[in-house]
């Protein structure tokens, strides 16, 4: 299979291992999505195991009255002594009463898969009954890893985005009255500046990012005269963007392949395949690709990118010539490896849970091109890695930095191998020109620590 697809990016070398690796369960996406979509409520339908994971993974967030909860399945649910529909109705009515959200997102888990609970079938009926939209996403550990959870949720939401004709202003007004009022002034302002934008086809971006990053990327495109017509997801469920046949869409994260597929096949959108706006090189390539597809001529990108690199110089000096090994757990690996290669690092291995060579094509090509330009060998991309084997390779290679999950970080540090916790890349702001420094801030932290402590002589703290 690898051979057949090899011509796509001839230089890159793909391997696939056993899939015995550590990653977060995809239900973890509720942690950032409930914060992003302010009027949502996430109901994870699973067992104590799921609940315990969320409780521990989200640390202090759990105490802040989160808009998520477990529908904890009991023995009666498993053996179908209880009726799924009635049970879910009872819980959703309680949620409606206590929180009154604009949407309830059901997260299907391994257990609902195995007992074949028909969430997609129950949702429309219950939705009609209680009057709150119910979106179903099967973000389970049987099929997906970590950030792919967001992909399953956004793919479901893509189906809920209104078409122009469908927008029922009356209903929207009712649901969203105050928000409308608040936005009133802003709307006017938008029209006033309409002339700053060039004429182009409507563009919708997809991928959940913190609001400051959304603003940042929006402004970056605005500088080129490109107007973003909507963003999936928006701050509120009631503000999901209009998506019409023929709209252009572009992803901001590498793990959104299902969402991209849904937008193309179900909503008849045109996907702009671009590298992802991670690092100044990625951001520039992303903007250039969008502009070229929309027929907009870019301006000032050379200077903009050069300026950013100049600001990064002190950090680039630190990483230049150092080697890095990605164990792989969040699908950001290829984009990060490409950026770090551009910074002058040598990448030993790019572990990744799942590799969609079509959705990531532009990013993969960009990686190959970057390696060529930097005069380094192309790294091997290891899909479904085997952590045990990887640890043997790490032991042999002795890389300067291993980007890995928390399960391996402390044990590696005790063996004198510097590590950076991979999950931080998921939660930190890493997109766009402005945030390139944040990526290097993370990457250089263990190296800076090493510089500070280098004369103490206690690098290795276990006998191996």
């Amino acid at each position: 299979m690898t051979l057949a697809q090899a011509p796509v990016t001839p230089e890159l070398n793909f391997e696939c291992e056993t899939g015995n690796y550590h990653t977060f369960c995809p239900i973890s996406c509720v942690a950032w999505l409930y914060q992003k979509i302010e009027d949502s409520f996430f109901l994870v339908i699973g067992t104590k195991t799921c609940g315990y994971f969320l409780q521990n993974a989200m640390g202090v967030m759990i105490f802040a009255e989160p808009r998520y909860a477990m529908a904890e399945l009991e023995e009666g649910d498993i053996s179908a002594q209880l009726n799924d529909y009635n049970e879910l109705r009872r819980l959703c009515e309680q949620i409606k009463r206590d929180r009154n959200p604009s949407v309830i997102v059901w997260i299907g888990t391994c257990t609902t898969e195995i007992i074949k609970m028909d969430l997609e079938g129950i949702a429309p009926k219950l939705e009609a009954e209680i009057g709150i939209p119910i979106v179903v996403a099967r973000a389970n550990g049987l099929d997906y890893a970590f950030t792919q959870g967001e992909d399953t949720v956004l793919a479901s939401m893509a189906n809920r985005c209104p078409k122009e004709a469908e927008v029922n202003t009356e209903e929207k007004e009712e649901r969203n009255g105050i928000q409308k009022l608040l936005n009133f002034g802003k709307k006017k302002e938008d029209t006033a500046t309409e002339s700053e934008y060039k004429q182009h086809h409507p563009l919708v971006l997809f991928g959940s990012l913190p609001d400051p990053v959304v603003t940042n990327l929006t402004l970056e495109l605005k500088k080129q005269g490109v107007k973003i017509d909507g963003w999936l997801p928006a701050k509120r469920y009631t503000e999901l963007p209009v998506i019409e046949e023929g709209y252009y869409v572009a992803g901001v994260n590498p793990f959104l392949s299902r969402t991209a597929t849904t937008l193309m096949r179900r909503r008849k959108c045109k996907l702009i395949g671009a590298p992802f706006p991670i690092g100044p090189d990625g951001t520039r390539a992303w903007i250039e690709k969008i502009c070229s597809v929309l027929g907009v001529e870019t301006q000032g990108l050379d200077e903009r990118e050069a300026q950013i690199w100049e600001n990064l110089q002190d950090y680039v000096d630190l990483v230049k010539g150092k080697s890095v090994f990605f164990m792989g757990d969040n699908l950001l690996e290829v984009s990060l490896a490409r950026f770090l290669t551009r910074c002058g690092m040598k990448v030993h291995e790019i572990g990744i849970p799942y590799m969609d060579k079509r959705y990531q094509k532009a990013e993969l090509d960009f990686l190959a091109q970057t390696c060529r330009e930097m005069g380094v060998d192309v790294p091997t991309i290891v899909e479904k890695p085997d952590n045990y084997n990887q640890l043997q390779r790490i032991n042999e290679l002795q890389p300067d930095l291993v980007i890995t999950g928390m399960a391996h970080a402390n044990p590696l540090e005790a063996r004198g191998i510097s590590t950076k916790w991979s999950v931080e890349f998921t939660f930190a702001q890493i997109h766009g020109f402005t945030n390139a420094r944040d990526i290097l801030e993370l990457v250089t932290r263990p190296l800076r620590r090493n510089n500070n402590l280098k004369d103490l002589g206690w690098d290795k703290l276990v006998k191996s």
Binding site: P26, I45, L73, I95, C110, I114, A414, V462
Partner: protein, 508 residues
């Protein structure tokens, strides 16, 4: 289905993994989907563990769902046996494998054929047991397995040690302050002249389990873990056990006396009274603290206690019996062992709450308005919200509850630690109180958390100012009581006079 935001005890497999990873050279293989190996993260982070956690997953994915695990589990077991040559591999079922109902027992016996180490299947049902029960069962299961194996091979060692000796059972990874407690217990045994035969499961080798019967008796410091193993050893090898948690001065003495009795019944001749007296007066400061002015000031203060059985019961007794504090509510989330808890704390507290619902506990705390809480991390956050100080005495816990410094809860040094914890919790509140009596560092607006915040009653300027001087953690209560008083007497305005009158009448 149950709507849940938080849980006190984890799922069953966590308990099994805690036992497996406590032993030396034991590996656990979970039969679970991707992402369920979260245990490794917890152990690596919370315990700041230097070694790789000996837990891997035999991944259940779409293919397994369609065709069954087939050779996958067996291959994974055999592979791990070759890679790391563990003494024992524990195949660990999860909620997922519970419903798949694959014949894991069969996988184990087939994998055993090609493995040098032993292979067993943890006998825990996800839907029947929680983390604590599963840990207890798994420990008993492993002990039983190795004793039976030794019986068959004839290597079992039943000969008692020359001097009185003990097995300490129940010290495990991710247990609340377990490593400090273990050190303290070792010291205590040394002081008592009792040899330590074995400590399990912590850092023990399974091959040594055949020596368990050599000890004169077993000692179970925690109610939740080790009792099943101790009962098995009593049944099969007539080994007596002591299961009194030596937490607090009185209980530590009771525990030591029980040990003396067990030793003397077997022909020993020990008398620990002198040692108990010396430790109580000279080593522990807790006895002296209870006489001191500091503790006198705590007399009759209200506290709420919540946690696992061991710590909540012991804490309740310490607060009431040794410090004269009023425990208005003692509770546990160990529902399955409710009767024991009730029996232990009944004489010491006003109310008992047995619940796994954190909302119920939070509501009870809000209603009772104690001066301090002793609970889990969840109660600490409840306290934060209500402005009530909280000392953490039980899991679930965060990384700050795995201190590097020596902080046992058991034994005589443990009594010192607990004294600090209790006193600091209360003085924190007192300090707050004094600051506000003298106007505080700044003049904040009054913050009330009660439902009466938007009441129909008017407070005069002076009364409002007076209310603002009331310390934060009782301000809500004063406000509510004053308003209740005013309503009952049909005052529509609360003046300074009304406030004082209310205080005089209800002690607001």
């Amino acid at each position: 289905m149950k709507l849940a935001y938080w849980m006190y005890a984890g799922p069953a497999h966590i308990g099994t993994l805690r036992i497996a990873s406590s032993f030396k050279n034991v590996h656990a293989i979970m039969h679970a989907p991707l992402g369920d190996d979260y245990f490794n993260v917890m152990r690596s982070m919370l315990e700041r563990e230097r070694n790789f956690t000996p837990v891997t997953t035999s991944v259940v994915d779409r293919n397994v769902l369609a065709r069954g695990s087939q050779e996958k589990v067996i291959d994974n077991i055999v592979r791990k046996d070759q890679e790391e040559s563990p003494d024992l591999i524990v195949l660990t079922p999860t909620c997922t494998s519970s419903i798949l109902q694959e014949d894991l027992e069969n996988f184990v016996s087939r994998a055993q054929l090609n493995s040098k180490g032993d292979v067993i299947l943890a006998d825990v049902n996800h839907y029947r047991y929680n983390e604590l029960q599963a840990a207890d069962r798994t420990l008993a299961q492993i002990v039983k397995f190795y004793l039976e194996k030794a019986e068959k091979k004839g290597t079992i060692n039943r000969e008692k040690t020359a001097n009185p000796s003990v097995n300490i059972i129940g010290i495990s990874t991710l247990g609340f302050h377990n490593n400090h407690d273990c050190r303290e217990l070792k010291k205590l045994m040394t002081d008592l002249g009792i040899e330590i035969n074995m400590i399990i499961p912590d850092k023990a080798s399974v091959e040594d389990l055949q020596n368990l019967p050599r000890a004169w008796f077993n000692f179970i410091p925690y109610r939740e873990l080790g009792l099943m193993a101790a009962e098995h050893l009593q049944r099969e090898y007539e080994m007596p056990y002591v299961d009194i948690t030596p937490m607090g001065v009185v209980e530590t003495a009771r525990c030591i006396r029980a040990m003396a009795k067990v030793i003397n019944q077997q022909g020993g001749n020990v008398d620990y009274e002198e040692l108990i007296e010396y430790q109580t007066i000279e080593v522990s400061e807790a006895a002296w603290f209870s006489r001191s002015i500091d503790c006198q000031n705590l007399t009759g203060k209200k506290a709420v206690v919540f946690g696992d059985n061991t710590h909540a019961a012991a804490m309740t007794k310490i607060l009431v019996r040794e410090m004269g504090i009023d425990v208005v509510l003692a509770g546990t989330y160990c529902k399955y062992d409710e009767a024991w808890f009730r029996k232990e704390v009944e004489p010491f507290c006003d109310n008992i709450l047995i619940s796994e619902d954190n909302g119920e506990i939070a509501d009870a705390i809000a209603k009772l308005e104690p001066s301090a809480i002793f609970g889990t991390q969840m109660e600490r956050h409840v306290g934060k919200r209500l402005g009530i100080p909280c000392g953490v005495i039980a899991a679930p816990i965060h990384i700050q509850n795995f201190p590097i410094g020596y902080k046992p809860f058991l034994g005589y040094e443990g009594t010192n630690q607990i004294t600090d914890l209790v006193y600091n919790s209360f003085t924190l509140g007192m300090e707050d109180h004094l600051l506000e009596i003298f106007g505080g560092h700044d003049t904040k607006e009054v913050i009330t958390k009660g439902i009466s915040a938007d009441s129909d009653l008017n407070w005069t300027k002076e009364a409002q100012a007076e209310l603002n001087k009331v310390p934060g953690f009782v301000r809500g209560k004063v406000k509510r009581n004053t308003e209740k008083f005013a309503r009952e007497r049909n005052f529509d305005q609360i003046s300074l006079e009304v406030m004082y009158a209310a205080k005089e009448s209800v002690g607001a």
